[in-house]
Every structure is written in structure tokens, then in C-alpha cells.
Amino acid sequence: MFNYNFRWNQALSSLPQMLEGALVTIEIAVLSMAIGITVAILLTLFRLSGSRPLSAIATTWVEIARNTPALFQIYMVHFGLGGFGIHLSPYLSLLIGIAFNNAGYLTENFRGALKAIPETQTRAARSLGMSPIQAFQNVILPQMLRISFLPMTNQMVWAILMTSLGAVVAMNTDLYGVTSELNARTFRTFELFAIAAVIFYVITKAITLSARLLAARLFRY
């Protein structure tokens, strides 16, 4: 037991490359969250619109996103769309896959948040002469985003963790991709992935902490 030579120096020498990968990981997570939140707001509007086909689209999206593995969704974007002759780069496939997943989960979070906002507020806003869109935009939306701030933070952490799934579409510029490529060259599996794990840990902790600080500043009453 333990006749294994740890070679931390060798693995640590590739730290700059891995940190660059970490930047790509953060970039994908942030972009996917931005797209996810936008789409989720749109889907929430679909649900509120009262139109049957529109809310059917929203429900289908949410149920598929929540009831199949994220890995499957990314795979579907890359190879499934490939079946239609649409070939996306690994980067785009990963981004779209994660954004799809985010949008589904966030729509469900928004639904929960909407329940906490009294129906009477919409009616009050409408009585004041606001159009339905104005009422949503000025009265409902800010509260909805505030209530679902914590779930959104969690989703952001999930987005970071999900970037590692890019492995399945041969993504090689994000943190996981860079690490596994270095691994294929040097075979220092344990050392390299331990470093990657530490980087992931630091990123997720930084996100939760900064979100908490941000919430404390933003949501003072």
C-alpha cells in the first residue's frame, strides 16, 4: 500500500492551463445562466398567458429538462441535432445543453416564487392602468427574481458542476476537458483531478459566498 509516487510538482506545473480552463468553465456557466434566466422568464410568461399551446410548450420544456439527465440533454443537443444535419461545436452544444437545463429548473423555481406573490397585486397594478406586460415587468418580475434569488444561486452552482459534462461531447477547453487532456498526456490522474477538484470547490464556494453578500446588500428592507 502507498507505493505510489505522488508527483505534485509535475501536475502543479500545468496549473496555469487549468486556470485558463476554469475561466472557460465560469464563462459557460455565466452565459448559460443568462440565457437560462431569460428563457425561464419567457416560459413563465407563456404559462401566465393563459394560452393553451404556449403553456404546453412551457410545461414540456420544464418536464423534459427536469426528468432526464443533464448529460442526456447535452448529448441530445450535440448528436441528436446532428441527426437533423445541425452540427454544433462542443462549446455551443455544452452551452445550449446547460442553458436548456437551467431554463427548465428556473421556470419551476419562478412558479414557486409566483405563488408567494398575492394575486391582488396584479389586479391592483391593472386597476392603476398598467398594461398586463407593465404589471408583470414592474410589479411581479422584481419580486419574483428576489424570492428566487437563492434557488438561482443554487442553479448557478449546478451550472458550474454541469460544465464537467462537456467531456461527453469532446469539449476540451473547459476545466474538466483541460484536465482530462493533460491526464491523457501525463497519466497523473489522481494529482491532476485532485487539483481540478480544488479549483471547482473554490469556484463554487466563491459563488455561494458572493451571492450571500450580494443578497445581504440588495435585499435590505
Binding site: 500500500m1 502507498f2 507505493n3 505510489y4 418536464e63 423534459i64 427536469r66 426528468n67 432526464t68 439527465p69 443533464a70 448529460l71 442526456f72 448529448y75 441530445m76 448528436f79 441528436g80 446532428g82 441527426g83 437533423f84 452552482v157 458542476l161 454541469m162 460544465t163 464537467s164 459534462l165 467531456a167 474538466y176 490522474t189 489522481f190 483531478f193 485532485a194 481540478a196 477538484a197 471547482f200 470547490y201 463554487t204 464556494k205
Partner: protein, 217 residues
Amino acid sequence: MFDTALTANDLVFLAKGAGMTLLVTAISVFFGTILGILFGVIRYQIGPWWATPMTLVLDVFRSIPLLIQLVLANAFITTVLGLRISGFAVACGVLSLYTAAYCAEIVRGGIESVPQTLRRAARSLGMTWGQDMTYVVLPLATRVALPSWIGLALGVMKDSALVYIVQVVELLKSTQILITRLQEPLFLLMICGLFYFLISFPIARFGGYLEKRWSND
């Protein structure tokens, strides 16, 4: 689209993959829940301060991608310790701990939802700690924790798609193998996705129903 090269043998192959997915999930959820309840009760019992080391360790499982956890565990066991152990065992072990990390939080939340006064009343009636736990806390905490636990179990089933990295051929991996051979990605992925959906959707709905039914209002 229905003109496919898929044979009965391939379907059996897919079914085996699906069976593997369910097996890994069942084992991990079973052991993960036992460990999770244990950790959750300990965490509650000794208070947040003394439980800090445990919370930190469990937190690691929730802050690092499962894929990396699997690779690390596999590398540690097979190359660092030099043990001969199957990928299946590694997958089940890692997934169990992963489940336990989430389950501990759910259990703690469940216990905390039981009003302190109710438990003091139980103890005042002469119930022992064990009786208090089994007759007062367990039924009440279950109502709060069960819907989340169902969500967790489904989450583990979906996350079990990642165990391909330690050479376990589960549903998604077997689909992948067939795609490489048959070159019909869309059709095969539909089958695979449908399987996950058909298992996950009804159970998720049931969880939602329980949550609504059991909420205190």
C-alpha cells in the same frame, strides 16, 4: 424514421443498460439514505458548531462535479492504493456518499421542522430519547423530508448516467455504444430519453402530490 437497423438483441442490450442504471441507483440510494439519516441525526444532535468538520466534508461532495469525484475515487483506489476493485463498486460507493451528503441536509431540515416544544413535551411525559425520535420526530419529519427525498432519489438516478466514466455500462453508455455502431443517434437517444422520462416523471409527480397534500395548510 422507423426504418431502423435496431434488432431485438440491441433492445436487450439497452434493457441491460437500463437495469444497470436502476441497480446502481437502488444500491446508492439505499446506502446513501442510511448514511444520510445517520449523519443528519448526528449533525442535529451535536449542534452546528461541533459538526463543522462533518458539514465541511459532506459539503465537498456537493461542491465538486460528480464526474471528478468518480475519477478521483477510481484513481485513488486503483492506482494509489493499488486495490483491484470493480468500477461498479467504485460507482456505488461514490454515489452513496454523494446521496448521503444531500440526504443529511434533508434529514436535518426534517428534524428541525419538528417544534422544540413538542419534543420537550414528549420527554416530559417520560419518553426516552429513542422513543421521542421514533414516535414523535420520525412521523412528523417524514412529512417534511419525504418529498425532498423523492427528488433526491430521482436526482441520483439521473446523475447515475455519469458512472460510464468508471467503465460501468448503464443506459446512456449502452445507447452511446449502439449509436456508434448503428449511426442512428436521434432514434436511439429518443428511446433512452423516454426511458428516463417514464421512470422519473410519474415519481416526480407523486412527490409533488405528497408535498401539496402534506404541507401544513
